[in-house]
Symmetry: C2
Subunit: 441 residues, 2 copies
């Protein structure tokens, strides 16, 4: 007999079916056992005689044959897609036996501390509330890809192993590369700029690796990053307009396709108005000062409490959960960032702040080679080592800019997760790579 996906049994009342899946829960009622069985499509109740269900327990992998029967009216479960029917088991085969579970996986929640959640990752990922996080990640990445393709962007594969660390910083991983040393890419920045010379508009979905020496709730050493870069921009504001389109489309798709996840976490999609409010950093600092009396007007960046306060302002005054902060000082942005000719000392750059924290960063880049080399020199960036990057400018690059954001971080903020590790299938940080590193020593 062919397999029937569990979601499809409601179309097969009174027919005999064969389902495959995992045991979710088992409830014994004397001679009768109720089993909840799930597969990738859904969950169904199976009724079996206790002789048939033997010692079946949660996570056992089974093949069950039986008849689909309508449930009596009062036993219908309206919260379950297959809740109008059940399967009366005639044959149960165990395909793979699971060990006794270390905790209950059958409830709506999985109330575990983070270390346990991660120590048992291959098991905890199977809990629907955990699993659905990664459907959101899939939809976020798909939506990013889908929208940009429609806008004439080409996807490219950016390398992970790089020859130098021109973008600088100590937080770079070293790789033993035959008899020399190579590094892991912290961002595809240089490559996406090179690719503007090839396809004009490009994007890449990429692992970025950063030796973050901190163990905060917001940092991982390995992140799946979404990067876009576009040439022939009419102005730097075109980049922000593209970001608006991308973010709105991502949120729309999540709202439509990730209903289960939004319900599990009891959240709604962030509010985004027609146009996301835009404030220069100094304007934001002035607003914060006016609202709170806290004077950060001479700071070169927002601190976390500033980010939360400016979000409150955007929510209250602009009915928006998101706000762009622009014009960070030259010294706070990478050397390749364009300065605003109308506002010297400040850059054509932006961060998108969402629900109190940074979601995304972007800006216009310098496309004049001489100026780029000068800026690199001022900042002590040994850019000459990045030969292919310089080469792209030697042979003509148009005015361009782009943006970048981490898929884990945006998923974390959409679902309101407390820790970014929950938004990574196999989170890596300075203490853990699958297993706790302390156990490896």
């Amino acid at each position: 007999m062919e397999r029937t996906l569990i979601a499809d049994i409601i179309k097969k009342t009174d027919e005999k079916v064969r389902i495959f899946g995992w045991v979710n829960t088992r409830r014994d009622h004397g001679k009768i056992v109720f089993l909840d069985i799930y597969d990738r499509s859904g969950l169904a109740q199976v009724v079996a005689e206790s002789s048939l269900s033997g010692n079946l327990h949660p996570q056992d992998v089974v093949c069950i044959e039986g008849k689909v029967a309508k449930r009596p009216e009062k036993l219908i479960n309206p919260n379950l897609e297959t809740g109008t029917v059940e399967i009366q088991a005639e044959r149960i085969e165990i395909l793979s036996k699971a060990e006794e579970l270390p905790f209950d996986m059958g409830g709506k929640d999985l109330d575990l501390q983070l270390p346990t959640l991660l120590d048992y990752r291959s098991l905890t990922l199977r809990h629907p509330k955990v699993r659905e996080i990664f459907r959101v990640q899939e939809v976020v990445i798909d939506a990013f890809r889908d929208l940009l393709k429609k806008k004439g962007f080409t996807e490219f594969q950016s390398p992970v192993i790089i020859p130098q660390t021109a973008e600088g910083g100590a937080e770079v991983f070293e790789v033993k590369y035959f008899d020399t040393t190579a590094y892991l890419a912290q961002s595809p920045q240089f490559y996406k700029q090179i690719m503007v010379g090839v396809f004009e508009r490009v994007f890449t979905v990429n692992k970025t690796l950063r030796a973050e020496p901190s163990v905060t709730t917001r940092h991982l050493t390995e992140v799946t990053t979404l990067d876009a870069e576009m040439g022939f921009i009419s102005s730097w504001e075109e980049i922000m307009e593209t970001v608006e389109e991308v973010i709105k489309y991502i949120l729309e798709r999540v709202e439509k396709e990730c209903v289960k996840a939004l319900n599990y976490y009891g959240v709604t999609i962030p509010k985004v108005p027609q146009s996301i409010p835009r404030l220069k950093l100094r304007e934001a600092q002035e607003i914060i000062f006016q609202r709170t009396g806290i004077d950060h007007r001479r700071e070169s960046d927002l601190d976390p409490e500033d980010e939360r306060e400016i979000t409150r302002w955007a929510q209250e005054e602009k009915n928006s959960d998101l706000v762009f902060i622009t014009h960070y000082p030259v010294s706070k942005r990478p050397f390749y960032t364009s300065e605003d000719p109308k506002d010297p000392g400040y850059t054509l750059s932006f961060d998108l702040i969402g629900r109190g924290t940074e979601w995304l960063t972007g800006g216009q880049r310098i496309n004049n080679m001489d100026l780029l080399l000068e800026r690199a020199k001022e900042r002590n960036v040994d850019i000459k080592k990045s030969e292919l990057y310089i080469q792209a400018f030697r042979f003509g690059l148009p005015p361009e800019g782009g943006f970048s954001f981490g898929s884990e971080r945006i998923v974390m903020h959409i679902l309101g997760l407390a820790n970014i590790r929950e938004a990574s299938l196999f989170p890596r940080d300075m203490e853990r790579v699958d297993v706790r590193l302390s156990t490896l020593k």
Copy 2:
């Protein structure tokens, strides 16, 4: 004035337009200069007075305003999509000036030796014959993703940094990971098997990194790999059927969407019959022996000439450019490969051979933990270190299998490229990471 994409000028005869792009070629005819200008959409001829075109030369980035004019009948270029019109320039602005090119980029071919092709990668990628290779790569990856999503597969993000090298081999890169050592993933194999426990059917598009100590035309140290894994298979043949669907769909999409690339390389899509021929390794060796007298019937694998010979057989006898070779000996396949109960000593595994070389590899996996641990032990694989992998089996995994192939390799074989480095935007090998490593010492 708004930008008009070059491909759209044919709809704007007698109108004034503004185009942005790069100078491809310049031909001086006394007071008149003919410029070929291209952008991401296409290429057009611009006619300008020499006073207007100044010292413009190839790869300069320009903005040109002018009138779109019908060409006289005899000057129509049928090989160019915009060949019925030209732009009569009224204003030319240089947005970015390029250096003198080290070689001619204006011809249909780019006849360079590989080292030069790679030393000037940021420039050579702009040549249409080179650029189109990467549209093929994009379509291959998109088609893989598209088809599998339709078949109920979920995409997941597999990690690059891993704690151990359980799959073994010396060809693994070491990473200095804080005060310990981590490794770079040579394949997402263990993770995709874990994910079968979560989503049943999964795939991942991933960078895989391998310290290949050879400098052949077929090996890179960094590859973009396409991996799929599926649970609840009815038999291992279901995996091959899925491969057939995937490969056919990829080739169909390339045929339809990559006409330019196929024309540049003068190739056609490989022939694939309704069902790709399947031979056990021993049957293939017997056929080769019968056809050539070369007796490799006791070898445990095909050598390169065997692969070419069995391809010739498939072409001649089965009208197929592709052939599956199955049932490699247990010793030649990874420890987690299922043995065929009906053919002891041989595995439920396959390679797909295309146009004389291996394209893809796959098979059914062992899903019984005790057997898996036993097989690992026999092969001296220290699998206990891969705690999360074992955990997936401890808590129940269904019968499953999958397949894996490199996007660069399939692109190389579709287009008939001589060297896999041509199919990688920024190829990495033991001698080069963007720049020749010898120059870094």
